[in-house]
């Protein structure tokens, strides 16, 4: 009964996606409601996708080359942001003095979206990898700090008292009680940060870059090639979704390990 229902809804989903693609096809390729230079049809987008896998025109690199360039920068900035952000967030939540001195500065920077720093970084460091990585670093850093901080703060006082009763040292309480409690939140932070990093990267590449997916779609706009833009957008979305899924897998794995202990 339940199985049957599941099947039914799955079929509805498939039909729904197919219908949208069909409508897209009909509007553009059959009824020509919009010119393909403004709104390309699904066939053209697919052809462009295949084409872009081996042609370097018009923006100087294949889709894979842009993709790889973007991923490299995003992961670099992200890794730096996570490496600094998670420990800093934990330290702020655990140590009163770190909290008192670092938090005010952090609160000052937090309301500024990461990509607002792009113009300044470009003036300081040029349009190379440094500015892009720095923007991503900032975005990832903030997400990691906020979530690690909240996670550690969720530690129950009674759990810490249990630690006291058994004579746990401060660092034992941190590593055996507070961090395990915070782990789900830390992972949330890592996932949010990855999303932010990817967005920040696209923004940086749109504004000033010579390669990467953001550069590719910006170039395609300049020469009015919406088919390339859509291919680029779908690639950006796909990479974002894959990143998120991978991190989710790691999260489940780690969380399971924690429970087993």
């Amino acid at each position: 009964m339940k199985q049957k229902n599941k099947m039914k809804y799955f079929c509805i989903s498939v039909v729904s996606v197919c219908t949208v693609i069909l409508i897209w096809f009909l509007c553009i390729n059959v009824f020509h409601m919009k010119s393909e230079t403004v709104f390309p049809g699904p066939v053209k987008v697919f052809n462009t996708f295949l084409d872009k896998l081996h042609t370097k025109a018009p923006d100087g690199a294949t889709l894979q080359a842009h993709l790889w360039s973007s991923i490299k920068v995003a992961l670099l900035g992200y890794a730096l942001g996570a490496l600094v952000g998670v420990p800093l967030g934990i330290a702020m939540a655990w140590n009163k003095w770190v909290d008192r001195f670092v938090r005010p500065l952090f609160d000052l920077v937090r309301p500024i979206p990461g990509l607002a720093w792009i113009p300044m970084f470009i003036l300081l460091f040029g349009i190379g990898i440094t500015s892009k990585a720095l923007v991503i670093f900032l975005g990832a850093l903030i997400a990691c700090i906020v979530n690690s901080y909240t996670g550690i703060r969720q530690t129950k006082e009674t759990h810490l008292w249990v630690g006291d009763v058994f004579g746990a040292s401060d660092s034992q309480k941190l590593f055996k009680i507070a961090i395990p409690t915070a782990l789900p939140m830390i992972f949330t932070g890592l996932r949010v940060a990855l999303g932010t990093s990817w967005t920040a990267l696209v923004a940086a590449e749109l504004l000033a870059s010579t390669k990467g997916l953001g550069y590719m779609i910006q170039q395609a706009r300049a020469i009015s090639r919406p088919d390339i833009i859509i291919v680029g957008m779908l690639a950006i979305g796909a990479v974002g979704a894959i990143f998120d899924a991978l991190l989710h897998l790691v999260e489940i794995h780690v969380a399971k390990g924690m429970n087993a202990k």
Partner: protein
Amino acid sequence: MTNGKKLSEKSIGAVCAVVSIGAFIILWYWGTQATQLGLLIPGPFDVLKAVGTGIVGKVGRHSILAHAGYSLLRVMIGFIIGSLVGVVLGLLMGWYRIAEAIFNPLFRIIRPIPPIAWIPISIIWFGLGEDAKIFLIFLASFSNTTLNSMAGARSVDPEIVNAARMLGASERKIFTTIVLPASVPNIFAGLQVAISSSWATVLAAEMVRSSEGLGWMIVAGMNNNDMIQILSGIVMIGVVGYILAIIMRRAEDVLCRWNKSGK
């Protein structure tokens, strides 16, 4: 006793905040005065002065406040439309299996594409005017509110729904009088993400193509090699971002007081 202790705790915090921010500003000032850094970055007081003159005078064709106003207006229009659509669609998807089956696969294709990545195509579709920017902000607020509203509708306590049924509520009334209010805390979580995402998006859109707004201001600063203009723009961006976050939090406190007053 406890009162006095709390007070001193608070004042220690305030002193530390002043010391740390003060140290940062002094370091910044000293760095720009005494080292080569001064050639690259203006000092803190130059930036503050630029914000002041920008408010009274003009940066480009408008004052800083007018630039902030342009950006805010764009955010407001896109945010209101986007979050309304997002709340309705999200609640429908979270509550009715059929709505989820139809819309969720489409939503899941669109959602991973950051709103910023829509900038080039929206310029081709809508041109360089306001429509493109409002469309982008619509996207930014829409996807976040949809996601959270859906989670809200899914997590409605089934016992509460049963209670409404036994009191004679029709299926439609259950949606409007139970599912909707029960999801309000989740909806607000979504709106908070949505507003900050919208704020970032409007800046990006203005940076790519615009002739006014705070995003234009910092990118024009970049093009003119004018670091003071960039930094004063960033200060203003931070101030507005902060005010938006505060407004959302206040609104949540009022609308969700039934959810919090016990804690």
